[in-house]
């Protein structure tokens, strides 16, 4: 059964690829890199759904990895940091989405909102990158 851990880790990494690439595509649009030919809401929809669908895969493979090696994960303080960062990243996405219920153009209405959404995009991207880094560091920081 030596193949189980690397196999589950591979699926986990592929789901991470879906999340980080979607986050990059969404946030590059929000930051205005590569042109803003469409309203913020319509361009992000496609990648937001990829991102949401990847999260259950990450959760399932992540839980499997914890069950497989509980001490390795739970004794690492970096794991707690990673979970904190994950809650923050998901919260940022939810908060960013809520005003869109009232109308698709919310973040495009005026200059101040466009500026605010750029700050949110930069913060969101930073959080997802930090989550990936923390994930790798779980293997190295073992003292708790």
């Amino acid at each position: 059964m030596a193949w189980v851990v690397p196999a589950v880790q591979t699926v986990h990494i592929l789901a991470v690829a879906a999340v980080i690439t979607s986050a990059l595509m969404i946030n590059l649009q929000l930051l205005g890199v590569g042109g803003r030919e469409r309203a913020v809401a319509s361009t992000t929809n496609r990648f937001v759904s990829y991102l949401w669908w990847s999260l259950p895969v990450l959760l399932a493979t992540g839980v499997t990895l914890i069950i497989g090696e509980p001490a390795r994960v739970l004794k690492s303080p970096v794991f707690l940091l990673k979970m904190g960062l994950l809650i923050a990243a998901v919260s940022v996405m939810l908060v960013c989405r809520t005003p869109l219920q009232g109308g698709k153009a919310f973040w495009d209405l005026n200059g101040r909102r466009r500026w605010a959404v750029r700050c949110i995009a930069a913060a969101s991207l930073t959080l997802w990158v930090a989550i990936i880094f923390a994930g790798r560091w779980i293997a190295y920081v073992q003292d708790a």
Binding site: V5, P6, T10, L14, A17, A18, T21, M25, R136, A139
Partner: protein, 172 residues
Amino acid sequence: MYRTHEVLQTLLQFLQHSAIATGIREGETLFPWIECVHVLALTLVIGSIAIVDLRLLGLGSRDRSVLQTTALALPVTWSAFVVAAITGGLLFSSNATSYAYNSFFQAKMLLIALAGLNMAAYHLILGKGAADWHSAAQTPWRVRVAGGLSLCLWIAIAACGRWIGFTISTPT
């Protein structure tokens, strides 16, 4: 053949004893940090290539043209690939004599070469006429095959990468 092996061995030793490789091997945190950047870069390579592959297969970005999709994704692919290759090279150098003889490392390099050939075949031959593939239904079957093959190759590359970490003998 014996000669080639000796030359390769000398080159690997030279690389492994270089100042950079020694620094990575003996540093407390250098290896994990380079690994972090390598993981970030490779997830972006695979994710952005998957956007193109899924469009070629007719499974994703169905309402966008192939050219719109490649224009969005390939700049990310190439920049991330450069970062992944540099960080990968640094990780390799720190333990070159072990990595070079690891089967999963060898398989990974072979699969990356195959993915590159597949991509070249697409850009030079199969992808001619991409300007006409506005919706998913218009993509020819040979292009769908290339997209599916690329997706399989990159998944296998990710798996090999992970397996290297479990099979490599670390220097003490």
